[in-house]
Symmetry: C2
Subunit: 209 residues, 2 copies
Amino acid sequence: MAGTANKKQSRIQTENRSLILTAALNVFSTDGYRGATLERIAERAGMSKTNVLYYFPSKEEIYHTALEQTVEGWLEPFSEISAQGDPVEELRRYISLKLQMSAEQPEASRLFANEVQRGAPLMLDFLKTRLKSLVDEKAAVIREWIDQGKLAPVDPYHLIFMIWATTQHYADFDTQIVAILGDQSKQKGFQEQTAHAVLSIILNGIRPR
Amino acid sequence: MAGTANKKQSRIQTENRSLILTAALNVFSTDGYRGATLERIAERAGMSKTNVLYYFPSKEEIYHTALEQTVEGWLEPFSEISAQGDPVEELRRYISLKLQMSAEQPEASRLFANEVQRGAPLMLDFLKTRLKSLVDEKAAVIREWIDQGKLAPVDPYHLIFMIWATTQHYADFDTQIVAILGDQSKQKGFQEQTAHAVLSIILNGIRPR
DNA sequence: TAAAAACTTGACTAGTTGGTCAAATTTAGA
DNA sequence: TCTAAATTTGACCAACTAGTCAAGTTTTTA
């Protein structure tokens, strides 16, 4: 009955699947797919390994589900960039939101990074279809803003890559940033300071002159 | 005699250790430390697993050596940013070089990214000491440029993080970029186009107004 | 040319890992 | 309250993994 799409999940199922996915996110984002073990996921979920396999048929299925959840939460903010909006405000809002997601869900970011760095075997289809078509759509929006003189003439794709790179860096390379900045990176206001710097450089970088 | 610091390495040792480290870079950058196996490294190096262990005492030692080589090649370009130079030219040169390194050595970049994403257990000391002191030094240089009105007032640390994030993104997220851009990313001139866009946005972003 | 040293590898070991099984316990529903 | 269904887990299995060993081969040195 576990995982059956049409049967309503029980209270225990809902609770335990969530525990397992949270644990899986932590273990997979640190050790990668091959390096993670069912035993580590089980320990972190606070149940036996056999119990984990009662709720998910395989290690790969756990990984796949964790990855899917990550990605679903990522498309929406990007898809909300509107051609009807003010370019600088639209991009400011998106960059701010991405930085906030990096601060709040660093493991999700690292899970994604890990998957892409190993060649994205479980996501290639998604990257080539849903993500690509959304990027193409938003690149067209940015190009139109450039054509109207609202933004400086830059390649829209590289602008999008830079926004992703910079914002996700605060999640993916968290360990390095903390090592360099020390306690400063843990203090109140660091996130705002980060946002201010990132927004300033990127938005000034694309402001028409 | 393998790995002894004071004994001169033989021709066969030099050759095979290099083969092993090249293979290791490929396997570790894809599968991570835990996910990689000695068998995979051996296969890619074109020798038996037992022979790999003849040249390196352990899997961890291979990983450590591969990582060390990566990092040594990274400090030098950064350390060459000169307080006596023109700010825009100094940063332009550094960014261009980093993009070139991403294009030429994507596996080294992914190895580093992987290590940091798993908490950098083998590099924390390096990050907190050598890297931090170099970053502090260059941040001071950038701050002086800002004080002299040569650069817009941005936080030097976040500027450095943005440069790293953006340039390393082309190596670390290579798979995603190729999925989105398709053949365009493999064409002649893509690297120049990338450099043009990245330099334009960042350098315009920090140009004094 | 011969011997010592270095190099190479298949077989092996002990521990690990993904997944299965049967049985005990708990929960839900009648 | 009782029974059926769901949940839980220790023991187990087959395959995998890091590393060892002994023996054969190749290279180096005298």
